[in-house]
Amino acid sequence: MPEQAPAAVSAARPALPAPKRGMSNLRKYKALYLISLPGIIYFIVFKYLPLLGSVMAFQNYNIFKGFTGSPWVGFDQFRRMFTYPEFLRILENTVLIGFYDLIFAFPVPIIFALLLNELRKVVYKRILQTVVYLPHFLSWVIIGGIMIGILSPTTGIVNQVLNAFGLKSIYFLGEDSYIRSILVGTGIWKDSGWGTIVYLAALASVNPELYEAARIDGASRWRQTLSITIPAILPTITIMFLLHIGNFLDFGFERVFVFVNSLNESKGDILDTYIYRVGLIDQQYSYTTAIGLFKSVVGLVLVMIGNTLSKRASGEGLY
């Protein structure tokens, strides 16, 4: 498999534009091309070869027969996917969790950024920023550990508070009714502070004269926010929204996998965790490759729709 890579690169070389100029350019800047070679080989081997390997979604892949020996089954794996109640349940989980994330987690950094922007004491603003960015740099295992500790039915602080009010302890991670809230909530805790950076940067670039003029005209701060601040950051919000839509199904394996267990997986399992369990552990290679391919294609379609909408709305696209 590795020997395919250099072959592919050298095959790409003669395809340079305008042969003579291309060849002399190649000779003159040989060093530049050589420097870029390892990186290009990296993308071929670790990004394009797996894409090529995705053809196993159309096979009934057998480890002993390999890619060439395994029988081709057309769209059977995809048909199988949509007739499995289990797959449909996981798809529902993935879409619902993604949807909750969009509704509840997406607006939080915007609100935080607007509020932080209203702070007048610069030092205090700095301190708060330092504090709210920190959780972004913690790993999901650590956040999982912290949350499990806080939510523990015996030693967790949340249940102690509940008990103090005479309520019974709740085993938050041992029931399927809380898992989606926990997944979305921990995401808000981890990344909403970090998410403010982009919006704060957009806010910082608003011309202060606009506010001055508004103040002279007697506009209240609320009015200034509505008429100056929000329109100013709307393009940023649009771009962030589109990026979010494009990653809709990529909720994140690492996040879900620390919280999901056999007691809550009926509502917490998503495509990525399902692919890991059924694909890598149970070795249903072709079936889970089909699921992965389905996920990538949906993602691509979402990005393209988002880009078209963005170009129509603001004249600017992601690519």
Partner: protein, 287 residues
């Protein structure tokens, strides 16, 4: 009117302060528990300050060789991985920033495609397997050698450098490699530092690739070992060290392991803070 604004300001300060507390209190709570006795933890007395101050939880970790091995594995992956990240990212970003590199457009599109259409997990696994990287620490380093996103950020940084620098280096007779090494890279120290920190943090925090590609438990990085301890209530070796199980709360040990794996992040955090806003801004402008 003025009064109204004052009311809002007061509310805003209080609200944001509460948000700030919500961000740090869980960590302080963990820290407090890691220094508390099991009786205090089980009785639910520990809030933000350790109760019955003790170092027992840390002694248990110190005595567990599997945790230290995992720690060293993570250090190796982070250091070697970040070096490879920086070398490969810079060596592809630099040619892509030069107009003389005539394949520029083709290569950029070729990389962009990998960002918007990703291969599923299993074919990725097959590539790693066929390269005989399963159960090798290189499987945690090489497959993530370049982040396309970081590559684009670094390229836009190189593009922004004045081209006169390259011209004058050429007049002085420097070759391409030499120009990159002694003119471009020294000027890019802040950019490289930012990117290195981001790469390092993601190496340190990641556990999914180890879960996919490492079966040998002796090669588990810290996050994966931590996951076992925290999530499976499996104290492994540490559990056997407990002479009197009632004396040491697993919760306390779990919290101590969390603290041990957070400390390196807290140490680099001031540096991250110094650079990341700049880094994010370059990224967001070109995104």
């Amino acid at each position: 009117m003025k009064n109204k604004g004052g009311l809002f300001d007061g509310f805003n300060y209080i609200f944001l302060t509460l948000v700030g507390c919500l961000m740090v209190f869980p960590l302080l709570h963990v820290l407090a528990k890691s220094f508390s006795s099991s009786q205090a933890i089980n009785a639910g007395k520990v809030r933000l300050i350790p109760v019955d101050w003790t170092l027992t939880n840390y002694h248990v970790i110190l005595g567990d060789s599997s945790i230290w091995r995992a720690f060293m594995v993570s250090v190796f992956i982070t250091v070697a991985g970040t070096l490879i990240n920086l070398i490969l990212t810079a060596s592809l970003a630099y040619p892509l920033s030069r107009p003389e590199y005539s394949m520029r457009k083709v290569v950029l599109i070729f990389i962009l495609i990998t960002m918007i259409f990703q291969a599923p997990l299993i074919p990725n696994y097959m590539v790693i397997k066929n390269l005989h990287l399963i159960d090798s620490l290189w499987a945690l380093i090489i497959p993530s050698a370049i982040s396309a996103y970081n590559l684009f950020i670094m390229r836009s940084f190189f593009v922004a450098l004045p081209s006169e620098l390259i011209d004058s280096a050429r007049i002085d007779g420097a070759g391409e490699l030499r120009t990159m090494w002694s003119v471009i890279l020294p000027l890019s120290k802040p950019a490289m530092a930012t990117m290195g920190l981001f790469y390092a943090v993601s190496h340190w925090n990641s556990y999914s690739s180890a879960l996919y590609f490492i079966n040998n438990r002796a090669l588990y990085p810290l996050q994966l070992r931590l996951r076992e301890i925290v999530l499976s209530n499996d104290l492994g070796q540490a559990g056997n060290l407990l002479e009197n199980v009632n004396e040491i709360s697993p919760a306390g040990v779990q919290m101590a392991v969390i603290i041990v794996s957070v400390v390196p992040i807290i140490i680099v955090y001031p540096f991250l803070q110094k650079y990341f806003i700049k880094g994010m801004l370059i990224g967001s402008i070109k995104a």
